[in-house]
Structures are given as C-alpha cells and as structure tokens.
C-alpha cells in the first residue's frame, strides 16, 4: 500500500499549477465568464498543448496513457482554480465512452479531442428521470441503416461549446428499463438538433437540447444496440470520481481562505479566529476536508474493481463529498460574514460550484440509496 505520488504525477500537478497561476487568477476567470463565448478557446488550446486533453487515452490513440490517479490530479487542481473549460465533460465523460468505442470511432474522434479541436458533451439527463440513469424517454427508432432520434435532454453541461454530443436514447424497452438504452455520437450541427443555451449559477454553461427526427447513421452507435446501460454506469462512476477530486480542490481553497480570514479579521479587539466557536467550526471543516480527500483517493483507486465494489465506492465517495461540500461551502460563507455574501470575493463562487457538484450525477440521498442497494 502506498499513498505517495510518483515523480511523474507531481510533475503533472506542477504543470497544471503553473498554467493556472499564469492564466487563471480570479479576475481572468471572471473575464472569461463574461466573454461572449463564456469560456476561453486559448486556454483550451493550451490544455491541448500541455497534453492534458490526452491524459486518460492510450498511447495508441495518441494519449498519455494515464490512469484515474492522474485524472484525479488534474480535476483537483482545476477545482482549486474553479476552471470553467469543460475538461471533465469532454475528456473524462465523453472520453470515457470513446475509450471503449470501436477502433474506427476512436480513430475518427479521439485525435480531435486530444488536439483541442473538438469539445464534447454528454446529453443524458431528462426532465422526468432526475438522477435515475435508466429513465430514458429520448427515442431512437431504426429504419434500415439509420436511426431517427426524438426527444429532450435537459441541463446538458458544456453543450453550448460542443461540436459533438454523446446522446443516450431508448432503442427498445420501457421508459426506465436498463435494457434497451443505446449511445449515439451526434453532430451538434445535424439537422433537427436544436439548443437553448444558457449560463449556469456556477459560471459555466449548459443547454436544453431537443432532437426532432435527427438522422443518425448506425455506425455512430457506441457499443451494442440496447446494451449501453452498464457502460453509462461505469463512465458516470468515473465522472463522479473526477467531480469528487474537483470538489476537494475547491474545498481546500475555501478552508485556507477561511482560516486566513479569521486570522486577520479583527472584531472585539482580536482576530475572530481566537473565538472558540469559530475555531471548532474550522476544525470541523478541516476534518470534513480530510475525509473527503481520503474518499476521493479511495474511489479513484477502486474504479477498476468489479462492478459492485466500484458502484459502492462511487456512491460512498459522492455521499461524503456532497455532505462536506455543503458544510464547507456554507461555513466558509458564514465565517466570512457579509464579505462572504459578495460577488467580488471568490468564496461565494466556490460555494456555488460545490453546491452544483452536489447535484451533478446524483445528490447525497440518491447515492445513499445506491450504496444501500449495492451493499
């Protein structure tokens, strides 16, 4: 057993830290959010140049052939910088599907992701399904060699920036059957795809995506028709592992900022950090953070285990991260007082991002149920 990072992994972390130092201070981030695109294409190109867009892909596919620990390092550092650019959506989630796609699909698409040419988004959640991964109404009906796609996907994270979507759709079975779900690669510019783009409360962007008789060639299906559920669950667990890492990055910034603030902010003639009631709150924040780091390591180390163990690990980690995100986010605002309520201080922005991570791919209640059913 060994929890230390290799030299190569430390180097990777240093690379990201210096990228963020140079490009991602709070004001630069704000300017990116307010820009017309809502993200920085230059930053995205730089991520490609640094090789970061190829982290999880095999050498044969043109990637760096790294594993979950390296993805965890990237996501954690991005969490510290509150990075807007859709790394997890494109590389971890859509990349996760494409890594398991056919040889020809990998050849066609992965190089464009690795080079930064294309951004991808995963269109899965539907209004009626909430966090239930198998509740899919979007329908793909087959006619000869073609599918016709119809329906509505909601809050598709990163979709406004994407060129390609991976869309889950029902090819057979009833609305919440695990059997009968298929995955399709869909060109966003295809006829019949329409998007309503909007900003999200954490500074990112998402879309409502509607498909109306969108024609998809059967070569665009990932894996076997109707058998996508297990793959979706696997890739969502990998995404959760990355989101946990992003969350601990954000938590660490909040904890440091809060301790620092309480050391310098004076009331009643002394730094407010001298008050025991605040000390205990910060100690609890610290303990929540340490447990979150530990659960994040745990899930990332268990991603390759058998299905049941992996599902338990992902849900267990997400429960911890949801609870800690809430506690640390709320406490950081509280301890910063009125300043914590302002848009000009970074604290609130971390708080909001953590609140959204709680919801993404299922909140604490959802994952507690999943954990119980897997135990």
């Amino acid at each position: 057993m060994d929890f230390s990072f290799s030299e190569e992994q430390t180097l990777l972390r240093n690379t990201i830290q210096s990228f963020l130092q140079d490009n991602y201070d709070f004001d630069s981030r704000k300017a990116i959010i307010q820009s017309e695109d809502g993200m920085s294409k230059e930053n995205w190109q730089q991520l490609a140049e640094l090789g970061l867009l190829g982290v999880p892909f095999s050498e044969a596919d043109g990637g760096l052939d790294f594993g979950p620990v390296e993805t965890m390092i990237v996501a954690e550092e991005f969490g510290k910088g509150l990075v807007i650019e859709p790394y997890i959506q494109t590389v971890v989630t859509c990349g996760g599907f494409l890594r398991r796609a056919s040889e020809s699909q990998r050849q066609e698409h992965l190089s464009k992701i690795i080079s930064g040419e294309e951004i991808w988004a995963f269109a899965h959640a539907e209004p009626q399904g909430r966090f239930n991964l198998s509740d899919i109404k979007v329908n793909a009906s087959k006619n000869n060699d073609e599918y016709s796609l119809n329906g509505h996907k909601c809050v598709v994270s990163g979709a406004p920036w994407a060129q390609k979507l991976i869309v889950s759709a029902r090819t057979s079975g009833d609305q919440s059957d695990k059997d009968g779900i298929s995955l399709f690669i869909v060109d966003k510019s295809a006829e019949g795809v329409s998007l309503r783009d909007y900003k999200t409360v954490d500074g990112s962007m998402a879309s409502e995506v509607t498909f109306e008789n969108v024609k998809i060639d059967s070569s665009s299906i990932i894996g076997e028709e109707g058998k996508a559920y297990d793959l979706i669950e696997l890739v969502v667990d990998e995404t959760i592992a990355a989101l946990c890492a992003e969350a601990i990055g954000a938590m660490s910034v909040l904890n440091d900022a809060t301790v620092e603030y309480c050391k310098t902010r004076k009331q009643f003639g002394q730094p407010i950090g001298k008050f025991q009631v605040l000390q205990h709150r910060m100690v609890d924040m610290f303990m929540q953070y340490e447990q979150s780091v530990s659960m994040t390591y745990m899930v990332n180390l268990k991603l390759s285990e058998d299905e049941l163990e992996r599902r338990k690990a992902a849900s267990g980690a997400k429960v911890q991260i949801c609870n800690a995100s809430k506690f640390i986010g709320q406490s950081a605002v509280q301890l910063h007082g009125g300043m914590g309520m302002t848009d000009e201080l970074n604290v609130g922005h971390y708080f909001k991002r953590l609140a959204m991570i709680e919801t993404q791919f299922g909140n604490a209640d959802h994952h507690l149920k999943k954990y119980s059913s897997a135990s």
Partner: protein
C-alpha cells in the same frame, strides 16, 4: 389555554382573505414569483404597502394611538398566517418596525409628528445605517463620525450592507459623537436625509447576482454631510441603548408563518417533481422525512413565538428572547432553501440573469425552479445579518442564561 378561533376570529380571517384577493393583484404575483432575492420593485412595494395602509393594517404591531390596528394576539396570528400563505410581499421593515418603535420610545413630539405618519403611509422609504466595514458583529466599534458644528453635525464615514439604500429617502445611522474608553458610550442615533449633499450610494452585488438597480445591499459613503441637530434621536452619546432597543424589534419577528409557506411550496414541488421510474419526489421517504422533520421544528418555533407574543401588548419588545426567534427562524429558513435545491435536482443549475426584465420569457425548466438556487445562495445572509447567529447565541448565553 385554548387553540380555537371564535366566530369573530373566523370573520376576521375572511376579511383578511378578501382583502388579499382584491389587493394582491396578478401583476404583483407574477413579479414576485420571478424575484431572485425575494424583493419586488420599489413601485410594487409602495403600492402594496399603501393598500395595507388604507385598510388600516400596515402596522399590526404599532400601538393604536400611533395608527396600529389594535389586533388581538389571535388576530395578529391570523393576519400573519394568511399573508404568508398568500405569499404577499413583506412590508419593508426599516421604517415600520425598526426606526418607528425607537421614535415612539425615545423621539421628541416633533420627531414623532414629523416621521411616524409618513412611515405609516409609506410616503418615505427608510434604510438602516448600522454596520461598517470594520464593525460587523462588533457593532460598537463603529467609526462613522458626527462632529458637533454648532447648529449641525458634520458626518464622515461609511455604512455597509445597507439594504435597498438605492430606494431610500432617509437613513437612520449610528454615528460616533465621542471617543471614549468604552466604545458603546460615544454613539449617537441620527436621522439623515439621503438627498443630502455628500452622500454616495454604491451597489454591492451578492451571490444571487441580482444586477443594479435590483441589488439588495449597498455601501453608503458620507463626506462632510451636514445633518441638522434636530435629527438627533434621544440624547447624544446614548445611541447604543436605542440601537439595542431597535435590534430586538429587528430580530423579534415571527418567522413561522413564512416558514409554513415554504413547507407548502416544497410539498407542491415534491408532488410535481418526477424522479424516474414513474415516481415523484413525494414518494421518496428519505426526502419526505426530512421535510416533515423540518415542519415539526417549525411548529416548535411557532409555539415559542405564540407564547412570547401573546404575553406582549402592541409596541412592546420581546427582550433578549428575540435571539431565540432569530436563530431558529433563520436556520429553518436556510434548511428549507437547502431542501428546495435538493428537490429540483438539475434545475438548480440554470442562471437567471435579471429579476424582472425577463418576466415574459419562458423559464428553463419548471417555473417554480428559477428562483430556488439564487434564494438558497442569498439566504446564507440570514445567519449573518442582524447580528450573526454566533452573536445571538452569545446574547442568549449572557442575557438569558447568565453565563
């Protein structure tokens, strides 16, 4: 002890309901439903308050001699419950329930005659000048100073977190009139015209990102602002006493009627929210147990409130027990906001830019979801403002338990 309403109470309840039906218009409802921070526009607030004024119900807690309606405890309970149930705009508290009680208790006859009728009729909009950048929880360390210049005071300094100062005609301010060893004993309570030369109001954008001019709070700057001597309330350097008196009114509200309204809303959301597999959130026992736990805690608070308020007559203050109400009220409000975010799942994510401008645009996701995340973010202020909840616990510990 008796919990039942008599016929007169039931008649009164019908009268309140009828009033709401005619005065709380559909335009008002539409605007408030889409408000990110729970406030409406100034016009709406004024219009609503004037209709309450005409009915004689604008100031339920004022003594009759100053224009209060003379409600019984039961009538007041009915009034607050019905108003909260209908989701009407909150009356803006700075004039009606903050500066007015101070003027009634400590103001001169001239001050009462000059200010109280306009507060009652919502002819004048007030804001509160208490906190400063360096004086938050430790309010007594405030530095904004008023120098005696013979016939007037000269005010220099700044006030922060000034709610809706952009709308205000008047501000009541705690100012330093003397440097003493004990910071509390050099503070005075001053009324300042917001149109005075040298006052600058700058918006502070908060987490819900309501843009100017719909920002909730501001920083107010005073540079050589001349304030007539007659605008001093009570005695010079005794302002701390008045300030604390006011704070008990600020904190001593009943929270439960609005909290029950929150529970109702949440239940209707849970009924409408599909969670897959053909089920709705209302079928999820984990969620419903949390919601009901919250409802029971609200009921506990409600009966604390009823016990406290039934022992008071109009115009009387609650005392340090007001800190119990503020602490529990705000924490339960936050819990409800948290549960609401949980309830709407992915629909918490879309960002609504402006409070009122996009009122006719279709919402992203269900209509009710739009304001939930911003309210949750903005709601974090409640355990910070009016004395943080840490401070409230200190007050209870000192003033109630004698620790």
């Amino acid at each position: 002890m008796d919990l039942n309403f008599n016929q007169a109470d039931i008649d009164f309840r019908n009268e309140v309901r009828d009033f709401i039906k005619t005065s709380y218009t559909s335009e008002m409802k539409a605007e408030l439903r889409r408000s990110k921070n729970g406030s409406a526009s100034k016009d709406l607030h004024v219009k609503w308050q004037k209709s309450l004024y005409e009915k004689g119900w604008i100031a339920p807690n004022w003594p009759v001699e100053h224009g209060g309606p003379g409600f019984t405890t039961t009538q007041n309970y009915i009034f607050e419950t019905e108003m909260a149930h209908a989701g009407v705009p909150r009356t803006v508290p700075f004039g009606l329930s903050m500066v007015a009680p101070v003027l009634m208790e400590f103001g001169t006859e001239e001050q009462k005659n000059k200010y109280l009728p306009d507060i009652l009729a919502t002819n004048v909009w007030w804001c509160q000048g208490y906190s400063e950048p360096g004086a938050g929880s430790d309010l007594a360390s405030l530095q904004c100073k008023a120098e005696d210049k013979g016939d007037h005071y000269l005010v220099n300094g700044t006030k922060i977190w000034t709610t809706m100062a952009q709308h205000a005609d008047m501000i009541f301010c705690l100012v330093r009139t003397s440097k003493t060893d004990k910071p509390q004993s050099g503070i005075s309570f001053l009324l300042i015209d917001m149109k005075s030369e040298g006052i600058d109001v700058r918006p502070l954008i908060t987490l819900d990102q309501s843009p100017e001019p719909y920002q909730e709070v501001n920083q107010v700057f005073f540079e050589d602002v001349k304030v007539p001597k007659e605008n001093l309330v009570g005695e010079e350097n005794k302002g701390w006493t008045y300030a604390k008196y006011l704070l008990e009114f600020e904190r001593g509200n009943s929270y439960s009627p609005t909290l029950y309204r929150g529970i109702e809303k949440l239940k209707s959301i849970a009924k409408e929210t599909s969670i897959g597999n053909g089920e709705n959130l209302i079928d999820d026992s984990d969620f419903i147990n949390k919601l009901n736990k919250c409802e029971i805690e609200i009921q506990a608070l409600e009966f604390v409130e009823l016990r406290i308020f039934s022992a008071l007559s109009a115009g009387q203050r609650v005392g340090p027990e007001s800190s119990i109400l503020k602490t529990r009220g705000t924490e339960l409000q936050q819990k409800l906001q948290e549960l609401s975010v949980e309830a709407i799942g992915y629909w918490a994510s879309p960002f609504v830019y402006d409070t009122f401008a996009n009122i006719n645009e279709p919402s992203i996701g269900p209509d009710y979801a739009m304001t939930i995340a911003p309210s949750y973010f903005n709601g974090r202020k409640t355990t910070i403002y009016a004395g943080s909840n840490e401070i409230q616990r200190n007050i209870i510990s000192k003033a109630v338990l004698g620790l």
